[in-house]
Chain length 338, copies 2
DNA sequence: CCCTTACTTGCAAGCGTATGCAAGTTTGCC
DNA sequence: GGCAAACTTGCATACGCTTGCAAGTAAGGG
C-alpha cells in the first residue's frame, strides 16, 4: 500500500513543491528548514525515491551486473559475498547472472545487461571472446574481469599474480626434492589456467626440469579425478602434483587417498591454488597459493567505480600478490621459510 | 553508443508510430506486416526495450530480490544457482542482498527491497521477525521463505520435511544400536533448526530414549567444533551425533578425527542434514538427509510466480520430502533398507 | 452492395523523478 | 539603507515506455 508514495505526496504534506523534495533526496542544495519539513513528511509517509524513475533521468541505475559461471568452486561464493558488501558500501546492488561457458549463452546475457543499462559489469570465471569485448566497449558499459584476464588490450581485469604464484610452487616442489612433478591444469581457455601453467613450467625450467605430465582438469572434479588416474597409471608416476585450483585439488587428493590407497603427502605431494576456506580444514590441510580475495574484491570495486565516474579512463590490469601457504599436503623442504 | 536506441528511433526507421513498436515488443496485437517491419528495424539498430521505463508504467520490474545470510554453507550457493536458472526461465532476474542476521540489517534490506519495487522476494536462511513479516505484507510484495519456515500464518515458505527427516535419523541411529545419542543442533532461532531438533527428539522418544546432549552449533564451524569437544568431554561421551546440517557435520567429523583421534564411524557415528555435494566426497562420505534442492527451488519459484500473478492468494507452507542417504559416516543397522 | 463487427494504428496522456530556468528571497558590504 | 551577489524555490519539461481512446481499415454477413 505505502509502496505507492511519491515525491508529490511528500511535497503536499510538507507544503513544498515536488522539486524541493527531489532536491532534498538527491543531495542538491536546499535550505535547512525545507529539508527538515521534507524529511519529516517523508518519514511519516514512508517515502523512498523510486530508483527506476531516477535511473531513467540520470542514466544511472545503481546496479552492477555480476556474471558468474562456476558456483561449485567455493572461491566464487566467497567472492560474491565480499563483492556484495563492498559494492553496497559504494551504493550499488548486484544483479546476478549465472551462465554456462558457451559463447551463445554469454552473449545473450551481455545483451540483457546492456538492456538493463547496468552501471557496470563484473565477470567472474567467465571467458570473454574478443567479439564480446568489442560489444561491451561499444555499449560503453564499464566492465571488470574478476580472476580472469583478457588477451590484448581492452578490458580491465583483476587477478592474482598467477604466474608468480605458480612459479613459487615450482620452486617449492623442486626444493622439496620431488623428482617427477606433474600438473593438473585449469582450463586452457582461461587466462588464469594458462598463466598458472606457464608460471609453473617456467619455475621448473629454472631448476632445469619440466613437468612429467600436464593434463587439463577443466575446473571440474570428475575431469580432475580422471586426470589423476591417468597420470598415476604410468611406469613412473609423479611424486608431486600441482593442481590448477583448490577445488580440483580436493578431487585429486580424494582420488589418491581413497581410490588408490596412496598417502598424501607420503606418496604424492599435492599443492593447490586459491586457498578457499576448506583448504584449511584438517581433512585436507592443503598446501596452496593464497589468492587474497578481499584485496582482489576491493581492487575490483575500486576500478569499476573509477571507471563509472570517468568513462574514458584507460583499462587497467591489476595483479595482486599471491603467496604460498604451507600446510600438510606437500612435503616441505628443510628450512623453507615464508 | 547504441545503448541509447529508443523505440522512437525504431519507429522512425520502420515508418510506423512509436506505439506500434511498443505493441510489437509488449506482445500486444499488431499486424504481421507491422511486426516484421518493426523487428527488422529493431534488429538493425540493436534496440532493446528499456526495462525501467517499462517497469514504471506496468509496475513490474522483472526483478526478484534474494536475501541470503550464510554463503559459507555450500547449500546456498547451489540453491542460488538453481534459483537463478529457474527464475530466468520465468523471465525474472535476481537482485542479491547479502545480510547478517541482525534484525536492523535485515530491516534496512527490506526497506531497500520495497524501494526497488521488486516483483517478489525470496529469503534464504534468514530469520524474519513478526514485525518484518507485517511490513512485507503491508508493502504487498509477494515473498517466499526458502528453507526456513515462519511461525504463525503470514508468509509462504518452502522447506523440506525437517521433522520427518530428523525422526528418520533417530530411528536409524537407534536401530544401529547406538546407546548415547547426541545432537549438535542448528540455530534455535530458525524454524529449520527447531524442527530438526523436535523431530529428532520425537524419534528417540518413540524408542523410549532421549538425547544425551543437545548443543546449539549456530550453523557455524567453530561453534560446532566447540560443541563437539564439550559433549565428548564427559564420563560417558556419545557414540552417535546427529548434526543440524552438513556444513557443521564436516566440522564435527574433523574435530573427532583430527583433534581427538577418534574414528568415524568406529567410535562415533555422525549424521548430517542437507546432502550438499561435498557430503558425497570420499573424505567425508557423510550419511545425511537429502534436501531435494531442485524440487525445493522449483516449488519456491512456482509459489512466488503464482503469488505475483494472483496477489490475494493465500500463503502456502510447502514441505518437500527428505530421505536419508546412507553413506559411511554412521554405523548401519543390519538389513536397513531405503 | 451496405452495414456491422473486429481489428490496426496513431495520438496523447501519463508513470515518478531530476533539472534548467526564472522569479523570489536572503545575505553582505559599502 | 541600497544594491549586487548568492542562494532558494517553483514551474515546466524530459526520460522511454505502455495504454485508453478514437479514427481508420479490413472482414463478414444478409
Amino acid at each position: 500500500m505505502n509502496s505507492q508514495v511519491t515525491s508529490l505526496d511528500v511535497a503536499r504534506l510538507a507544503g513544498v513543491s515536488q522539486s524541493a523534495v527531489s532536491r532534498v533526496f538527491s543531495g542538491a542544495s536546499a535550505s535547512a528548514a525545507t529539508a527538515q519539513k521534507v524529511r519529516r513528511a517523508a518519514a511519516e509517509l514512508g517515502y523512498r525515491p523510486n530508483p527506476w524513475a531516477r535511473a531513467m533521468i540520470t542514466g544511472r541505475s545503481g546496479i552492477i551486473g555480476l556474471v558468474v559461471a562456476y558456483f561449485d568452486n567455493p572461491f566464487y561464493p566467497v567472492a560474491l559475498e565480499l563483492l556484495s558488501r563492498a559494492l553496497k558500501a559504494e551504493g550499488y546492488r548486484i544483479l546476478v547472472f549465472t551462465v554456462g561457458n558457451s559463447p551463445s549463452e554469454i552473449e545473450s546475457v551481455m545483451d540483457e545487461l546492456t538492456a538493463y543499462r547496468v552501471d557496470g559489469i563484473i565477470t567472474a570465471s567467465v571467458a570473454m571472446t574478443n567479439d564480446l569485448t568489442d560489444r561491451c566497449a561499444q555499449a560503453g558499459i564499464p566492465i571488470v574481469l574478476f580472476n580472469r584476464g583478457q588477451d590484448g588490450v581492452g578490458l580491465s581485469s583483476v587477478t592474482s599474480a598467477n604466474d608468480a604464484g605458480a612459479r613459487q610452487v615450482a620452486r617449492f616442489l623442486v626444493a622439496g626434492g620431488h623428482q617427477r612433478i606433474a600438473h593438473v591444469a585449469g582450463w586452457q581457455q582461461s587466462s588464469t589456467g594458462r598463466d598458472r601453467l606457464l608460471g609453473f613450467e617456467a619455475g621448473l625450467a629454472e631448476a632445469g626440469t619440466a613437468p612429467v605430465a600436464v593434463i587439463d582438469g577443466l575446473y571440474d572434479r570428475d575431469a580432475a579425478r580422471a586426470a589423476t588416474l591417468a597420470m598415476m597409471d604410468t611406469a613412473t608416476p609423479p611424486d608431486a602434483i600441482f593442481v590448477g585450483n583448490d577445488h580440483m585439488a580436493f578431487a585429486v587428493m580424494d582420488t589418491l587417498r581413497h581410490e588408490m590407497g596412496l598417502s598424501v603427502p607420503g606418496d604424492v605431494s599435492v599443492v593447490g591454488f586459491d586457498d578457499v576456506p576448506m583448504a584449511a580444514w584438517p581433512a585436507y590441510d592443503l598446501t596452496t597459493v593464497r589468492q587474497p580475495v578481499r584485496r582482489m574484491v576491493d581492487s575490483t570495486v575500486e576500478t569499476l567505480v573509477a571507471q563509472i565516474a570517468e568513462p574514458d579512463r584507460a583499462p587497467q590490469s591489476i595483479r595482486i600478490d599471491a603467496a604460498l601457504v604451507l600446510r600438510g599436503s606437500a612435503r616441505c623442504p628443510e628450512g623453507w621459510t615464508e
